[in-house]
Symmetry: C2
Subunit: 294 residues, 2 copies
Amino acid sequence: MADLGFIGLGIMGKPMTGHLLAAGCAVHVYDLVSETVLKLASQGGLACSHGREVAQKADIIFIMVPDTPDVEAVLFGRDGVAGGARPGSIVVDMSSISPIATKEFARRLDTMGVKMLDAPVSGGQVGAENATLSIMVGGQSEVFRQVKPYFEIMGRNIVHVGDNNGDGQTCKVANQILVALTIEAVGEALLFASKAGADPAKVREALLGGFAQSRILEVSGERMIGRRFEPGFRIRHQQKDLNVALQSARSLGLSLPGTAVAQEMFNAVVAQGGSDLDHSAVLLALEALAGHKV
Amino acid sequence: MADLGFIGLGIMGKPMTGHLLAAGCAVHVYDLVSETVLKLASQGGLACSHGREVAQKADIIFIMVPDTPDVEAVLFGRDGVAGGARPGSIVVDMSSISPIATKEFARRLDTMGVKMLDAPVSGGQVGAENATLSIMVGGQSEVFRQVKPYFEIMGRNIVHVGDNNGDGQTCKVANQILVALTIEAVGEALLFASKAGADPAKVREALLGGFAQSRILEVSGERMIGRRFEPGFRIRHQQKDLNVALQSARSLGLSLPGTAVAQEMFNAVVAQGGSDLDHSAVLLALEALAGHKV
């Protein structure tokens, strides 16, 4: 059995590492917060002092950190993974970051004989805790096959999106574009219904039976009507993911007019102090524009 | 059994009237195109010379015409329904028009003792032909109960949205806001995936398993990937429905930023000559902005 590494032991990485340990894997762990490392060590994790040490000891190194610069620092920064990884090592980045930067990171690792997969997830904290994450994977099939058994310990819906590095991140970005715009759509539809004097709960019900049906109308629509905006998936994470989408789009030479408007609406909720609310709270920005509540 | 009337015998009204006739109803029919009236008469319809005559002979008068001004003309124009309807008559407008104008029409009819329901449909030509329309109804419960048996002959998913005149139209507008924005979302997501080098078909498949799932991702997403843009639901109808949404929003004092952007994208497809394509062809506008095809 391969020796594993896990770098980034936050609200996602900690339970994911816990599942690997519970399955009997040897996991070398590291986080910027040493207290977290000690906590994992008490559950059987093998504590390391930096990413380089993790890479020296592990064959497959999982990374779960917040954003693109964090992944870059973990890989190529001081005491980073690149300083310890050996030819044949596999780096699996499960963070949600730029697909373009991902391709570049994979290219740099490849010159050292290190293989990379990008494997961002959806399902959030609850999915991480219950091992029900969806995992979208980009990278060579042969490498995917080697890592798949570990993905299956951490998640449920594992899709190999494509052989290119970055295909998993691209899929995650597409997911976030679709989620953000659909939530805004539900907000505009229910706000219109309410302002025009209809019962938004009745309207939601009626629409669920037709072509406009979506899981987001079901789940986020119900949150909007009940004004239940505790997270869930936080506005500031949605904002960060749309930032990846819009920056990547600009780099690729792509215009995403709907996504740009949706991001401005999320920005407006943050301006109102709502960065830790659920993303369905985009309704608050639309309500502010209208001076009317659903 | 009540005598029925049906005004507007186009691609929707004709098959709907056909179902009422097949169920044994007496239906007094009228259309601006006299040829169409004769065709329905050959199927057992009772031909009339104008809407006023329909209203004189029928207890319940169904209307199915393209837009708000058409309904106004049918009701209050020369030889219109208002000239023939009696106290106790019921007008059922199944067109998709402005909820605000609908409230006004209902108020005017009410002063004459005539009751009104608004009952726009979704499901299009296929739904009309197969009697599988969804019907969203606004108006008094008691009136709804009288008309419901006839709705059940023409459709399948019959929802009484609320007691206010206009609630059905409001629900339809909400539906069209949601549909238009979700289609644009699917277009932006798949275009991003393609431009970033992933396989959009694989991405669609992966996303169908998660929170971004929707009937529109399933149906319109597949059309976009296969470039099958024959209608379906035509861009020009989507454009007209969003026009109702945006005009109503302005009247109500409501800002719908996402819907406005979506309308501009549909406008762009029309500018390219695509007004009779399926609404999933909004992808063509996004592709034009990107200089890249999915």
